[in-house]
Symmetry: C2
């Protein structure tokens, strides 16, 4: 903390804790210099910040006075408490998958784009396009073609703050008695289908991906699937299965919703394109998202409609409002056009390739269990056997190791946010804890 910040927080705390009440005069700048053994500039800087933040006001020639109302004090206390309670715990190793590498994304570049857009008053003081900003749709159109082989036009792209809000819009355009087949573990999508009261059939997977024989048992209208993470082993879809599914859905007039979560982030398997570009009768609606590529706090997803639903959507377009932040949309469009997204993607692929190889080695060395890579989710799945799982979860907390909840004896360990050089020692420690929990 800088010196002036120390002074600022000292007075701020005194005000919030009621030691300096409304109207009370603050020590003069000279006096504060003596008290804090600080320069005049430092104290002026601190007072300036107290002024800007509304804690004090200044009476020229006389001095500075406390300026705060009861309710705000209350709010501030809660706010500070919250920041204290919710201060992210610092872990020795974080194997959970909701965090990403904190160093991979160049925040300074992103800030520059955000700043540029904020400076554009006319754009910021008008409502956005409910379908998504045109420039961003255009940029995504080119990006999705180049990187994922997705065939689209800006008019068929729908931008939203997350893929769930886009699904809410899309599913509202379906017939009332729709039957949907889906793989398990897509909770957000399932929530939308169930909100609409659509009948949901969970389709089994085998090692190769969706079990087509299982799918054939039901008379469904829609198939929701993740093409980048198929089957028990969570691998990108094989060409064979892709052809089989496309033939079957075409013959039976089934609409496919292709969730391409992290599909562009291949670092272990060969590069493959999304299914959408291979469709022969335009029966695939494609969903893409950027939260895992950029900062997870950025909320931008998109959907490429097929011709049929694009027409229905356009009919109702004016009855929808925009969901994604216009600020983030415009900043992101410029970021893509200037080539930063592709550059960043290349960097991520390189980084994750190193990490996954390092983790593969470490697992083979330390963990004598069945395991496989879930490429799209940036993690290894370890099939635990004869382990007291609750005890393991407790032990991890004690040792400041963050892990995902163990589900069906599978422990998912993500390498996304672990330093490459520490992967071996992190797995070695995890292995030790697992051994201590053997039944």
């Amino acid at each position: 903390m800088k010196k002036y910040e120390k002074v600022y927080f000292k007075y701020r705390e005194d005000i919030i804790n009621g030691y300096l009440k409304k109207g009370a005069q603050l020590p003069s700048i000279r006096k504060s210099c003596e008290m804090f053994k600080a320069s005049q500039t430092t104290i002026e800087h601190a007072y300036e910040k107290l002024l800007i933040d509304g804690y004090i006001y200044s009476v020229p020639q006389i001095g500075y006075f406390v300026n705060i109302e009861e309710e705000r004090i209350q709010l501030h206390k809660q706010f500070d408490q919250y920041s204290m309670i919710h201060k992210p715990v610092s872990y020795l190793y974080d194997f959970r998958s909701q965090t990403v590498s904190q160093d991979s994304f160049e925040v300074s570049t992103w800030k520059r784009y955000i700043k540029d857009v904020l400076d554009d008053r006319i754009n910021m003081s008008t409502y956005g396009d409910s379908q998504g900003e045109y420039v961003l749709r255009e940029a995504i159109c080119q990006y999705a073609y180049k990187i994922r082989g997705v065939l689209s036009q800006p008019d068929k792209i729908l931008i939203g703050s997350n893929y769930q809000s886009l699904l809410f819009i899309l599913c509202g355009l379906f017939e009332k008695e729709t039957v949907i087949a889906m793989e398990k573990e897509a909770d957000q999508a399932q929530r939308v289908f169930e909100s609409y009261g659509y009948e949901v059939k969970i389709i089994n997977s085998n090692d190769g991906g969706i079990d087509v024989e299982d799918l054939k048992k039901y008379d469904v209208d829609v198939l929701y699937m993740n093409s980048a993470s198929q089957g028990n082993k969570k691998r990108p879809i094989s060409n064979h299965l892709r052809e089989e599914l496309m033939t079957y859905t075409t013959e039976h007039n089934i609409l496919i919703i292709e969730d391409d979560y992290n599909g562009e982030l291949t670092y272990a398997s060969k590069h493959h394109h999304a299914m959408q570009g291979f469709s022969k009768n335009d029966n695939i609606i494609y969903c893409g998202s950027f939260s895992r590529l950029l900062l997870p706090s950025l909320r931008i997803s998109y959907m490429v409609l097929n011709d049929q639903y694009s027409k229905i959507y356009q009919h109702f377009k004016n009855d929808y409002g925009p969901t994604a932040s216009k600020l983030e949309q415009l900043a992101f469009s410029r970021y893509i056009v200037d080539g930063y997204l592709e550059k960043h993607l290349r960097k991520l692929k390189k980084e994750y390739k190193e990490k996954y190889i390092e983790m593969k080695k470490a697992i083979e060395e330390h963990l004598p269990y069945q395991h496989y890579l879930n490429e799209a989710y940036l993690c290894y799945c370890i099939e635990l056997k004869d382990i007291d799982e609750n005890r393991l979860e407790e032990k991890c907390i004690e040792n400041k190791i963050a892990i995902n909840p163990i589900v069906h004896h599978i422990l998912k360990i993500s390498f996304a946010s672990i330093d490459t050089k520490k992967i071996n020692q992190s797995i070695s420690l995890l292995s030790k804890l697992i051994q201590e929990c053997c039944l």
Copy 2:
């Protein structure tokens, strides 16, 4: 445009237009100094920006070379064209209601908060809370109580990027055969109800607001209404009607969804609280939004659930994803806690009061038609008679005046983005155009 920007754009254009092809060497800095009659610092600044933006690369001791791929050139061309085509038209007077006063919002303050949040790496590199950031829910809780009399707790608040995405979530929790009564002209809400296939009954209004006798004709489960803009004259709801509606809905077990669009922005009528705080049996769900108070491009809305739906929501909470930008949520929470929102609200009320009085005077002076104020929507509604409306719309375009489409002979003219001093002359000009279109 600054000098270095001129140099930057000149070279950028030459590259995009293919005059400087990939691999071509740029003039040396000294040569550019001569060509542009600029200082070395200026040229270096321009080259630096070309470097950062990826148009050129530098070979030490040798020079600068063009570095751009075909596709990016194509993208840039489209982007530039788009910026040209979509450059907001500059109007003499803009009477539409989707724009807000561009000067009223202190962008510099907002930028500071955005910057602070962006600097907080840990917060930005993790996913947000699907219900909305806790600090923002807490801040909104206090704000809504103080300003709107809304009774809530952070756990009952749901934050989304717009009220429609919140309605999609809420309506997904209703029974399948829900019947909804609503006032007309709420297209976004109606789209949600119809997406779900719920039966919608449009309820008539009289001058005082919702026609309760009309409502009583139907057996409905939900009443969707805007309490700040009631009846043909779009006034805040009267105490009498409020009591009548609450008694009726309580007796018949009807849930009210109260849309409080701009409810806090009273400048003509007396301050009134939202209905939610008066509810005796917790049958009101409240919706609030900030897009009209701050920059319209900011997407933050909230919903205060009642006990019943809060419990249902909590049950499914993990199956929803966050929709509002975490960046904007965190910046906004600090903005509220530091008192800026209330300060800004006071400023807006003062400004809109002056504007509406000025416009009232001007209309009475120049426009001999029935008219009334729609307070929540910041506009006057003029009931046109015997006017060639298409011709009027054309004439307005010719004269660089932006108006809303005329619907049912009503012309809505908003004073939100017109300079107070120019209101009289703007209405005078509009009056002249209207007279020229008399049938």
